[in-house]
Amino acid sequence: MLNEWRTNVWLALEFLVVSVVLWYICDYFYASMRTYFAPLGFEYDHCYELTMYDIPESSPEYRPEYAGDSAQAEARYEILRRLKQMPEIEAAAYSNNARPFNGSNSGFTMGYDSVSGNGLRRFVTPDFPIIYRYRGANGESPEELARQLEEGKVLLSDNFFSSSSREPLPSVRELKDAGKKIHYVDYKINGEHREAQIGSALVPVRYDEFSDWSAFALQDVCRDGFHPDKAMVLYYNELTIRVKPEHDHDIAAKLMAAAPDYLHVGNNLLTNVSSLDDIRRNFQRSTTTQLRNYSAGMGFMMINIFLGLLGTFWFRTQQRVNEIAIRRVNGATRRGIFGRLIGEGVLLLALVTPLAVAADCMLTHYDICAYYGAHHSTALRIAVCAGTSFVLMALMVIAGIWFPARRAMRIEPAQALSIDN
């Protein structure tokens, strides 16, 4: 190896650069897959979003008797009742910036003592937790949570205060057990923050499959004791349903067929039905595309290693024919020759790997990892990713040297030495 030190330096440099790049990509996959497989907190199978539009005044179908807020709100509630009466539908709810895989968000600030916490604000009608199978942190069922929403209670995720704080803070369950009063930070009466009627603490629900963001509050403002107003349903911009599994085969077509008559109440018109699966795919497209692009990058790096070693060792075996012939003459076996060449490549990789791992640790220290908001870097994460990178590189090194090594082990010493003479 020392005889070809110049070429080996180039190879070592290539191994170093590719090792670090492969580690970066492996780290991205590790963090995103770890997040992806963490509990989501909700279920979205058999769920659909219905898009309703207002028929404009210019339409001959426009009904002026539904022009006022109360009549419009009543028409919306009637649509909800009719949906729930359909045998295919298990639950239906309106919501505001609440359904999963949503790019629109509203914020909420709650407090206790002098502590405040922030989370997503999800205004929903009572069936919402049933649709997405939300659960209480103490095991409360979605139906129980729906009943609490009907009573006008606010349901906070168990990590509402702890998730946005650097200091360890109690969970909502612990606060309730300790008898703490939780108040709205947004609303004041007589200059004081108004106490909220808090229901069960909820199991945290993640924002999407690639995000850790999970603190939120559920409330039905139409039933809120502060300003109950059924017409507030007009601000709910989403309508979603859960379909019974045995009926989920052509529900979109059935609903669109019912759009002109059964579901046409007031000036509301159903114009589209989308599955949450399609919505999820669209919403997460940039992350899934990133994963695909990184996979392609990884494949490219590995092919480069393969081609580089194939080319370099092809030349090398040509130039070392005499040396190989002499080794054979002196008792080296074909397998020995084969193993020697493969060993040269793997040894070079092994020599470079500590440098690559040091570079990996440095990148981690300076927070130049590819993935944001995921689990923090740990020794295990670095070790797993560096180890995976090493194994992938070793496989390519072996694959790249394989053919030249096989060629070398077939050299007949007498022929090789006589040609040279």
Binding site: R6, T7, V17, P56, S58, S59, G297, G308
Partner: protein
């Protein structure tokens, strides 16, 4: 050069093919990455003037009672009329819905079809060059009188009416059971033209979108694009906007306590392409650094690879080089000729790689060109005019030259400086 390439191919086929494959692969991947970026920023119809555009997709607002809190999202028509429309240093500007929405379109007593609709103002068609095959767009008078008119794409017209000819102009159809009259038909637009894309365009005034506002009519459901006369007018436009912004905020604060948070809007097409959330100013420098890092890695790794193979090939030719030196060839002449000889292989391989990347992009456009959180379900399409520009070809040539220099430079330099006696 071609003779040299053929000689190399015959004398060392394996190594030559490995070199060609490595180079073609490197150029293929780099050019795919380049095209993925160019599709967001290079000009093509109907966004042929992307280099002259400043986009104002969202607005941010705060209130005296909110502390550090802000509300972020699309703007209202009031915001457009008071901040953007009065601009004198720009050629024109337009307001349009922040995204397309899917509606039902049908003929009377016919089954409805799903269409993506984008409500716009009348100046939309001055900023974006949709190609009319029949009829014309709605004008200012029609916009201001809230007429229910529509412009649709050829494929939408064929789906709805069965044809897309001039005879359809003036035809009535329904959108969400409301009657509209067709006044123009345009060529289909790819969803990759993400500001102008739609299947149907209607006047904003014919919809209820202008009334869909929040935060006391300061926020709404609209986006805007400013078209400069020339790119060099950007500083003047931004300076004029700064004065307008200051005046508007003073007025608002004195009113009911709101103030807009500008986040350095509007953005150029390149900056707008990396913008994801309304509450965060996009970091263009970071995006450029990431892209540069990707290009460097995609160039350096194959260059190191190819360099060691080039080194081996040059080593075989040391006696030839020594003979040429002994007959009077200079070091720089040897260096230059080695680099140029390798360039022939690099250019041929680069051509193969570039061709593959274009074919790949055309065949796999739907999965290759990411639209992020797209509101449309229409498939992504790409065409040659969208993918091929002088800048794309220039980048391909540039990367070929750089790759050639990186992988041949050092071996050629060392070969040119080798002693004649030792080489022989």
């Amino acid at each position: 050069m071609l003779k040299q390439f053929i000689y190399e191919l015959k004398s060392e086929p394996v190594v030559t093919w490995v070199t060609i494959t490595g180079t073609a692969l490197a150029i293929f991947l780099i050019m795919t990455v380049v095209m993925m970026q160019e599709i967001k920023t290079a000009p093509y119809s109907p966004e042929s003037h992307r280099d002259r555009m400043l986009h104002w997709g969202s607005m941010s607002i705060t209130h005296a009672d909110w502390g550090d809190g802000t509300s972020n999202g699309p703007m209202s028509y009031w915001a457009y009329q008071n901040i953007i429309e009065p601009l004198e240093s720009a050629e024109t500007s337009t307001a349009y819905a922040c995204m397309t929405t899917t509606h039902s379109a049908s003929l009377r007593d016919h089954t409805p079809i799903k269409v993506d609709i984008l409500p716009t103002d009348h100046r939309f068609f001055d900023v974006f060059d949709l190609q009319f095959t029949a009829g014309k767009p709605y004008d200012q008078a029609q916009f201001e009188s809230s007429q229910a008119l529509a412009v649709m794409t050829e494929s939408t017209a064929r789906q709805l009416f069965g044809s897309a000819g001039e005879d359809l102009i003036g035809s009535e159809f329904l959108i969400d059971l409301a009657p509209y009259r067709l006044i123009g038909i345009v060529k289909d637009v790819s969803p990759l033209a993400d500001h102008a894309y739609s299947q149907l365009w209607v006047p904003l005034t014919a919809t209820s979108l202008l009334k869909d506002t929040w935060n006391d009519n300061y926020m709404g459901m609209l986006s805007s694009t400013i078209l400069a006369r020339d790119k060099s007018d950007f500083p003047a436009i931004l300076a004029e906007l700064d004065k307008i912004k200051a005046s508007v905020n003073t007025q608002m604060k004195a009113g009911i306590g709101y103030q807009y948070v500008w986040r350095n809007r509007p953005y150029t097409t390149e900056k707008d392409a990396v913008s994801k959330w309304a509450n965060v100013e996009p970091d263009l420098k970071q995006a450029r650094r990431s892209r540069l890092m990707v290009y460097l890695i995609l160039l350096i790794v194959p260059a190191i690879n190819l360099s060691s193979m080039t080194q081996s090939r040059v080593k075989r030719r040391m006696s030839e080089i020594a003979v040429r030196r002994s007959y009077g060839a200079t070091r720089s002449g040897i260096l230059g000729s080695l680099i140029m000889e390798n360039l022939s292989m690099t250019l041929i391989a680069g051509l193969i790689g570039f061709g593959l990347s274009v074919a790949f992009a055309l065949l796999l456009a739907p999965s290759l060109f990411n639209q992020g959180m797209s509101a449309t379900s229409a498939p992504t399409t790409a065409s040659l005019p969208m993918l091929l520009h002088w800048s794309t070809l220039g980048m391909a040539l540039l990367f070929c030259f750089i790759l050639n220099l990186l992988c041949t430079g050092v071996p050629a330099w060392r070969a040119s400086r080798a002693s004649i006696v030792n080489s022989l």
